[in-house]
């Protein structure tokens, strides 16, 4: 058979622009029931949760800022942030970024997409950007919703920081939003791990689970008595380091190191995923990944990154051991006590005494004489002393401290009922929570110890 046509005129074989691919990926993600459910949950549930808990008598006092949910609307958002850092954000990254490539394997649409876009590079960029956009919308939803719920239920009131100092509403708002912004960076790192899992493992559900499994493994690691250089070099540390924003001055060291580590993870995991993706054979429609490939191209390089970051942190920071030392703890507790004493004085209409005139000090001991005064544990016992102007006697209050490996501690008061021995104080307007009964604090793990 002979058929003829004119010679081809216009030949366009250019790849689709990244923006169009990005838009298509967004449409695909947002059309999924799962994504819509996550969006609804992130934008509605935190507000309902914060409002409901803020109106209850019992508060989640074990969670950082939980004991202040009656006092200010900003505390609720921080409770949601703390919970999100533990569970929600790794899970969200798994469900969004961990599935963005695997979904094409499941649907068998790689060939179609390749023919339409004509550039694996652009497909990768579009998918990565689209999944990050959805994650950003989810995180913004969590923040907005939790703030709105707190403000609606309790109001825009001052927030007590983790060293007892009071943040004015405007400062509280800025710091809360900054804390949410900071956790975007570890979220980015986990999302990159999700992309890597999704690319490396194809249709296998293990790809979807990778960020969640990593978060779980790192959570377990955080429970171990790791040296501080290892602890802050893990990508999960930035999920805790935002606590340092709520002290004055802010404990910026661990936060900045954590953010830098997470950025390194984000870049490394994304680069590994990109490399794997470009080398993939798309003619294999039953691609389930390869265990060896995941190990060589994914796990080993990231393990190398951990070793590198540990070495850099150990060399560049003054920290040693667990980072939790007696002197740091004493300083932190005395500072928090002085701030909260002023708060209590205002509640009780006592004359205001500044922190400088109060001259609060603390003496701490861990587990008696046979235990070294260092490291986390619930066997810290501290005696706080303070002075009142014109009074010769020195006031003392005892606290039992439960210090976590991440540097956060809860001090449980054990002293005179009027000071820190009872959970309520009698104010002119009725009973009110006693700010000195239990207090939260945070130790800067990377701070240089001030001897003496």
């Amino acid at each position: 058979m002979t058929a003829t046509v004119a010679a081809p005129t216009k030949i366009h074989a250019r790849p689709a622009p990244v923006l169009r691919g990005y838009r298509f990926e967004l449409v695909k993600l947002l059309s999924q029931h799962r994504t819509r459910l996550l969006l609804a949950a992130c934008w509605i549930v935190p507000a309902a949760f914060v409002a409901a808990v803020s109106l209850q008598n019992s508060l989640p006092a074990d969670t950082v800022f939980g004991r202040w949910m009656h006092a200010t609307g900003w505390a609720g958002s921080l409770v949601v942030l703390d919970f999100s850092c533990t569970w929600a954000l790794p899970l969200l990254t798994a469900l969004v970024a961990g599935d963005v490539f695997a979904a094409e394997d499941r649907l068998g649409t790689w060939r179609h997409l390749l023919v339409a876009v004509r550039s694996p590079r652009r497909i990768f960029v579009a998918k990565a950007l689209a999944s990050l956009t959805v994650l950003l919308i989810l995180v913004v939803g969590l923040a907005t919703s939790s703030v709105a719920g707190g403000l609606a239920a309790v109001g825009d009131r001052p927030l007590v920081g983790l060293d007892g100092h009071v943040l004015a509403p405007a400062d509280a708002a800025a710091t809360v939003l900054l804390a949410w912004a900071c956790v975007l960076v570890p979220t980015l790192a986990f999302a990159a791990v999700g992309l890597l899992g999704s690319v490396a493992l194809g249709r296998s559900p293990m790809g979807l689970l990778m960020p969640a499994l990593l978060a779980f493994a790192l959570r377990l690691a955080q429970l171990l008595p790791l040296p501080v250089a290892v602890r802050v070099a893990l990508p999960s540390h930035a999920f805790l380091a935002w606590h340092g924003l709520f002290t004055s001055p802010a404990q910026a060291g661990p936060l900045l190191v954590g953010l830098a580590v997470c950025l390194a993870w984000a870049v490394a995991a994304t680069a590994l995923a990109y490399r794997l993706f470009l080398r993939r054979d798309f003619t294999d429609i039953a691609y389930d990944g390869s265990g060896r490939r995941v190990l060589v191209a994914g796990v080993l390089p990231l393990a190398g990154l951990v070793a590198l970051t540990v070495a850099v942190v150990a060399a560049a920071t003054p920290a040693g051991g667990s980072g939790i030392e007696r002197v740091k703890l004493q300083d932190s507790l005395a500072t928090a006590y002085a701030h909260l004493y002023r708060l209590q004085s205002r509640e009780l209409n006592r004359p205001d005494v500044t922190e400088a005139r109060l001259r609060a000090t603390a003496t701490c001991d861990k587990g008696g004489d046979r235990v070294v005064d260092e490291g986390p544990g619930n066997d810290w016992r501290c005696v706080v002393s303070w002075h009142l102007p014109g009074v010769a006697a020195v006031g003392t209050a005892i606290y039992q401290l439960d210090v976590t490996a991440g540097g956060r501690y809860v001090a449980d008061g054990d002293g005179p009922k009027e000071v820190n021995g009872y959970f309520q104080v009698r104010t002119p307007t009725g009973d009110a929570p006693n700010p000195l009964w239990r207090l939260d604090g945070n130790v800067d793990l990377l701070a240089r110890t001030q001897k003496g």
Partner: protein, 346 residues
Amino acid sequence: MHTTPAIRARGITKCFGDVVALDGVDLEVAAGQVHGLVGPNGAGKTTLLGLLLGLAVGDSGRLEILGTPIARTLAVPDGVAGFVDAPGLYPSLSARQNLSALASLRGYGAGYGTGPAAGVDGALEQVGLTDVADDRVRGFSLGMRQRLGLAAALLTKPRLLVLDEPANGLDPAGKHHVHRVITGLAADGTAVVISSHRMDDLAALCSEVTILATGRVVFSGPVSKLAAESGELDYRLLTSDPAAARGVAARTPGLRVVPRRGPGRWSDAGVLVVRGPVPAIDELVARLVGAGVAVRELAPVVAPLEAAFLALTGTGTGTGIAASQPWTEEIEETEETEQSDEEGRR
């Protein structure tokens, strides 16, 4: 007029590890031609279609698509469309959204082109999916997905259309719809390559076929030539006087009457199955007419293309009739008879 084949492949070889998927394949498809690609499972059809769509490149050989040499993946020129294995569709999107996204990616825009058959709506109308344009693909049947896949290909105004089993899951109406679209495209100058196991579809649509077996071309050319090369075929004959027809057939040179046995489609006493070459069949018809026997139906039991396929690929037995067919017993009996005859002669 300058002649530019839509596809010109010379000595294409493609291996996956130790497996040779394509072994020196030559293929030439002219513009406006509907070309069938046939072969047993594992023959290399999907690999070849993948090369035509630019999903991979051969290890050796030369491939030109629409006049453009293809040296790397995804470098096929604009105007090539189609699908391999199955259309790539997103179940969470509607039919319209699937096509609009594709149009956007390829830079056509949803309203690409002019006239009634232009753009997304035009493509949906061409394949008869206008009524379900806004339904999610999740609820589509296999046949509807196939038609939507064809619509996606039409959207790009292809000059080369590559389709893998396009009639999969289609009901008769849907099949006619798809056939009409394909023949229309070919009439407008689009080259169409169809891979299918449905020989009736290929016979109805294709002017030329290429048969692949274990990565090699065992036949390439017009369907008519293939039919002629297929030799003797079995024909089903329905006449006004079966007894007279049997006698006429038995006396026709070069023709054998296939004995009837057991239940089945051809066990009807009025139906006669005869085996022979086309000239003998022509002679039989003339003799029947001469004997005053009316011929009501005369058709090959197995389509010539299918018979040739089975013979050329070595996947059939005897005359290439599959063992599961109801007339198998008849053929077996014929073979047994022939064997007995040969033994008797010895």
